[in-house]
Every structure is written in C-alpha cells, then in structure tokens.
Symmetry: none
C-alpha cells in the first residue's frame, strides 16, 4: 500500500492544529574557524526550549546523497513521494502568480537578461530590473502568436516572468535556452522527442520575437526560458489527510507549490512577523499551516554565513507569535540544507523538531545538526513528517484489528 | 526480492534456539511529574543486565506515525509485512479458540451486550458476564440455520464469542452491527458489495434470532457482531524460516495469530511464571518460542501507569526462568506502545533488546525508551527483527558468492 493510501485510510478531521514551519535551506556546514554550523552558531533560546519539550530527528528530503530542488524538497515535506511528484519550474512560477493553467498548457520560467552586440549574455538577470519594469516589458510580449499557439507572458518578480504556451499539440520535453553561464549566446531550444517538435519551434520563434521587441530596452534586451512543464495532478491534502490546509509564504513559487497540493495560499506581508500575524488572524479557519521562511536559503545561496545566522536568530526572536497560539503540533525543519560554505542547496540531512503534548521527549535541549542526529525520531525520510505530525495531533485512526 | 523470499533462500535448520518475548504495548510516554516512562520507572535489574550483554534498538511496528492494531503489530514481529497481512478480528478470535475454519467460512467477533426496553444499548459488554455464562448462552445460539447457512457460535472469554457462518455464497465485506457507543440500537448489517448481500441478510437474521432467544437472559439480552472476515493464507514460519515454532500466550487472540503463521500454540497457565514453566517443559521440542505478556497492554489501556510499571517489574523478577535456559538468542520488545497517558495503542516506537553470544554490545546498560533510541541497532522496522534474530542464532546462510 502506498503511503498516501494509508493516510487516506486512517486520517480523520479533528479540531487539533498542526503548524509546519519551514526554514528554507536550514541545514548547514560548520565554519572552519568555529566548527559550528549556521544553526549551531545562532543564539536560539526559543527553538532550543521547543526542542527540549519536543522530540528531534534528522531528515533526508529526497534520499541520502541527493540534493533536492525546492519542488521535490517541499513535495516530501507535504508527504508526497518526491521521486514521483515532478513539478516543472515553469508550472511552479505560473501557479505561484495565480495563473490559471489549463490542461495542455506548457509553462516556462523566463528571465529578462542582458546580451551584448554579439548576442552573448553579459547578465543573466538584466541587473535585476524592478518588478514594475518587468511588468511593462511583459505587456510588450504578452499574446504573441505562432503556429496557432498563444504565448501568455506574465511578470513574477524583478527580472522573472512566466511564459505559458497555449494551443494544440504542445509537449513539455524540450531543452532550455538558458546556458546558465555568461559570455555565450542563449541556446536554441531543441525537441527531446518528435512529439515536442512544435513546442521547440514555437518557443524559438517566441524568443526571436522577444529579442526584436526588446532591442531598445537595455539592460533587459533578451529573454531566457527554462523549466518547460505541464501541471501535474496531485491528490490534495484535503483528500489525503482530511485537512483544511493553508500556506503562509512570501514567495510566489512556494505559494504555487502549496496550491498544487490543495492549500489555500494566504495573503501576507514580507517578514516572518507578518507571516505570524497572518497565522494569528487565520488561526480559526484552518487546521494545518505551512509557514515558509525564504531568507535562510537566500543567505546560504549567497554564501553569507553571518546573514544566515542572523536570519535564524530573527525567526527565533519572533517565535512566541507562533508558540503563544499553542498549536497541538509544531514541526520546525527545512526543505533541504543550503550551507553558506557551498553557496547552494546540498544533500546534507536537515534537523527537525516536533513539539506536541503527545511526543516522547528525548532530552535534546538544543536545536542543531549535531544534536538532532541523536534525537528520538532518528534519521528518516521527509515523507514521514506528515504521518508523524498527523499522529501527534491525534488525527490518525489505528491500523488493523 | 520480497523479504520473506530472502529468508526462504537463506534460512537453515540448526539446534540453536530463539526466544521472542513480547511485552504487549511495552512502549510508553513519560509521566509529567517524573519525566519517566513506565519502563523507565520500573526497577528492571535483569532486563538491564540483558541489555548490557546485548544490543538495543528502537522499532517501528508498522511505520512512523502509524498506530498498530494487535494483528499487524504481531505480523510485523514475525517478519510479515503488516501492510499486506490483513487479518480480520473475527478470524483472529476463531483461530484463537482452536476453531477449525474452513475455506469459505466467515467469522465474526461477537459480544453479548445489554439493551433496554427500547432496544438501545446500555452496556456493550453485558456487565462482563462469566465465561461459564457465555458458554451456556452460546449453546442457545449455536447451530442456527438461515438460507442454508449454519451459524456456529462458540464462547471465547467473558462476554465475547465467535460466530462462524458456514455455507455457500458468503462474502466478508459487510458492515458491523456494533455502533461502538451507548444509547443507540445495534446497527443493521449492510452489504458493502452486491456479492455480500446474502452474508448481510443471514447475519441480520441471526441477530434477530439471538435477540429473541436471549430476551430473558438480562444483562446478556442482545449480541453485537463485528470484524466479519475470512482466514488469510500465510506462508508458515516453518516454510519461511525453517523453524519449528511454538507460541506461549494466555490470550486466545494471540494464540490465533501465532497459529496463522504456523506456530504450535502450547497450553499454559495464566501468569508469566506459568508461561516460563511451559517454556521449560517444551524447550527441547521447538527451536523458536514466542512468549506473550498481555498485562502490560491492559494496564496501559486502563490508563494505569503504576500497574504497567508493576507488571514490567514482575516480568523482570521472573526473568531467570528464561535466561537460565540460556537460549542462543533472546529478543525482548513489544508489538506497539500503549502509553498509560493515552489509554490506548499509540504510534511511538518500541524499545528492543537482542541478546546473543554473537551480538555486538553497544554499551546500553538500561532497557528503556531513552536508552534504546541510542542503541546499536538504531531505529528500524519491526519486520527486520526476525532476520536479525535468525542471523544471531546462526541460522542464515551467506547471501551471494
């Protein structure tokens, strides 16, 4: 029996509440000077107190040794097998801006970028133009038609946009135009199977049209496309867990991810405090909350050890806004590690704490990598977080006679 | 390769002996006043000594977060995938009283209960009438015929009985008559598929006949039926492990479970000392013994922390009756947790110790939840207990060249 089948069989709706707090890219690596990770360096009296009351563990988001992207990392946190829940980046961006994807639509993630006189990329992000500028440029490109396919172009944030190709006979398996490096021209988009020939041809034509239209809009004088994808069909968290779930997250991609599994994405501000205020205001309307903090990951990606430490300390300082609500289950973890030393996502397991009146405390009195590895929950796949959270919220019936 | 296939391939018969001692519902939760679980509170010098000599671990009976019923909990202990070894409660009760279930028989678990003048249930257990009284009442109902189906009614214990429906065209997928609450009438039994129509009709007719026959037998003036089921076909432990296994357990249901996997259920008394005496007397005849202690679970279900502590201490005090026989492998664990604080089965992992001349001791010197979590065997699924026990008894050949 697949895990979700077991959840569907055993789960029940109760008034108890679960909060899943995800510090994106939480796990780290020790600074050579101190031997301490970002989380170990941060002063976190409130998280430590929660760890002491709760039970700790160590999660593998996808599998040992596997570095997760944001989508599989989050799919696993929500209990969905990350190896069989592929979500393209284009789809994520589209659902993250409330774009209503239709069956057959192919979405791609776009960047405005800068190219020089020879067409070679000099800035993959066009100097991170403002969202307003992005919005104007998208209007220039929106509605381009090619071979009876409409290309719908919508702004996301800064230099990022979504291009949705709507028309008959499109397939998602084409290569990307973003070479992910400077000094070379954008790549031609190629079909990976014969069924994707039309998709590749339409996409290349769109890129050509965009280049022409953007010629005078330096630094945003070209586009890069990647992550061509179709919306997958997931069973919702309502169907699987009988939950009424809400997502509180600033970034569109995470709202999109949450919506794909049936969460209501709540409007919120830009800080963790704003997110907690949104939690407080909506606390009675839902029984599951996914709260997402992006800044830990961004600091890690930037290789900024100190900023990651500070972000963790800021979350800790504001934590009473969550604990004062007294949810039946609080889980704090990350979707993957983003060690500042590696300046990117990594495969290292992620510390986790689960606090509930029904957990079996394990004596771990500090929330960190080196303590969680000895926690009472052991090391386990992230897909088991939801069954554990559901159990500790007394939302699962007994299995078998 | 399925786990049992590997065992069938590698197992061999040797003179070495394995004893699996199951303290039902062993795992607990800490009392708020002391921070110690039932097992941590109990004085257990003999179990602690065994833990020191042996190697400890922490088991998940079914899966993290899943609360097991007794049947899947034990199936896993015997090495059978608990998610694919469903056993109905009716079948369990029937085989537990040595009832010889035929192919096509449908067994249901019955309760004598009390109803008031309006037919509403006032006591789901008819004041727990004596087993003698139950036996007499079963004779009143035994042999009822309906639509060419014979209903065989046999006493189990106190208010509990088994009803076996024997005849053509019966199916197990019908609803139960037990509403699991007071103040309402027993439910009509409904077919869940069209193939089960005859089963439902015969069962309802039997309930009607029973009500009439019991009218003057207050407090046992009605019956409740649940767990309609057919006997599943398991490979025996003889086939899988090449063992000659015996079960020593007081309660019928556990004898039934043991028989389903091919164990010989030995006659025994009602105490742990009786069980150890049965072990001693039969020690030469078998190479695997499953010894079951129910009282730990019963105390947990009753929410009686102190009684659970005492039961564990009693087992510990008598343990020399087991260790003096010097089995090659002793495993002590539970089929699930039953914390007194939750008054029921729970999902929490269960401590385990394995003692053998060939184990690699891990320094754990106390048998408890908080120590086993750091044990040398780690946290693992209960289905791996049998391979580990077989290995430590030197009953498994090398895999591969």
């Amino acid at each position: 029996m697949a895990d979700l089948e077991l959840m569907k069989l055993l789960s029940m709706t109760t008034p108890s509440k679960i909060v899943l707090l995800v510090l994106d890219g939480l796990g780290g690596l020790p600074a050579p000077e101190t031997g301490k990770t970002e989380l170990e360096t941060a002063r976190t009296p409130n998280l430590d107190a929660l760890a002491l009351k709760g039970v700790c563990g160590f999660i593998d988001p996808v599998a040992p040794g596997i570095t997760p992207g944001s989508a599989p990392g989050h799919a696993a946190l929500f209990g969905y097998d990350p190896l069989n829940s592929e979500i393209g980046r284009g789809v994520l961006e589209a659902v993250g801006i409330d774009f209503d994807l239709q069956p057959g639509d192919i979405a791609a993630r776009g960047n405005f970028c800068t190219v020089d006189g020879e067409g070679k990329i000099t800035d993959r992000r066009a100097g991170r133009i403002s969202t307003d500028e992005c919005t104007e440029l998208c209007q220039l490109l929106d509605g381009v038609m090619a071979e009876n396919v409409a290309v719908l172009v919508k702004p996301v944030r800064e230099h990022r946009f979504v291009a949705v190709f709507r028309g008959d006979g499109l397939a998602e398996n084409v290569t990307e135009s973003d070479p992910q490096q400077l000094g070379v021209a954008p790549l031609e988009i190629m079909p990976v199977s014969s069924a994707a020939r039309k998709m590749a041809s339409v996409a290349n034509w769109f890129v050509y049209r965009a280049k022409t239209a953007l010629e005078t809009h330096y630094p945003a004088n070209m586009v890069l496309l990647r992550g061509f994808s179709k919306r997958p069909q997931f069973e919702t968290m309502g169907e699987v867990y009988k939950l009424t779930p809400a997502a509180i997250t600033v970034y569109p991609m995470y709202r999109g991810l949450a919506r794909l599994v049936g969460m209501k994405a709540l409007e919120t501000g830009t800080t963790f405090e704003d997110e907690l205020e949104t939690l407080r205001k909506n606390y009675d309307r839902f029984d599951f909350f996914f709260i997402h903090v992006k800044a830990t990951d961004s600091a890690g990606e930037d290789g900024d050890f100190e900023r990651k430490v500070k972000t963790i300390e800021q979350v800790d300082a504001a934590l009473s806004g969550l604990t004062d609500l007294n949810p039946d289950v609080i889980v704090v973890t990350g979707d993957h590690s983003t060690p500042a030393l590696l300046k990117g996502h990594s495969w290292h397991p992620v510390p986790l704490l689960l606090s509930s009146p029904w957990c079996r405390p394990d004596g771990v009195s500090e929330f960190s990598e080196s303590t969680c590895v000895l926690g009472g929950l052991g090391r386990f796949p992230a897909t088991e977080i939801m069954p554990l959270a559901m159990a500790h919220a007394l939302k699962l019936n007994k299995f078998g006679a």
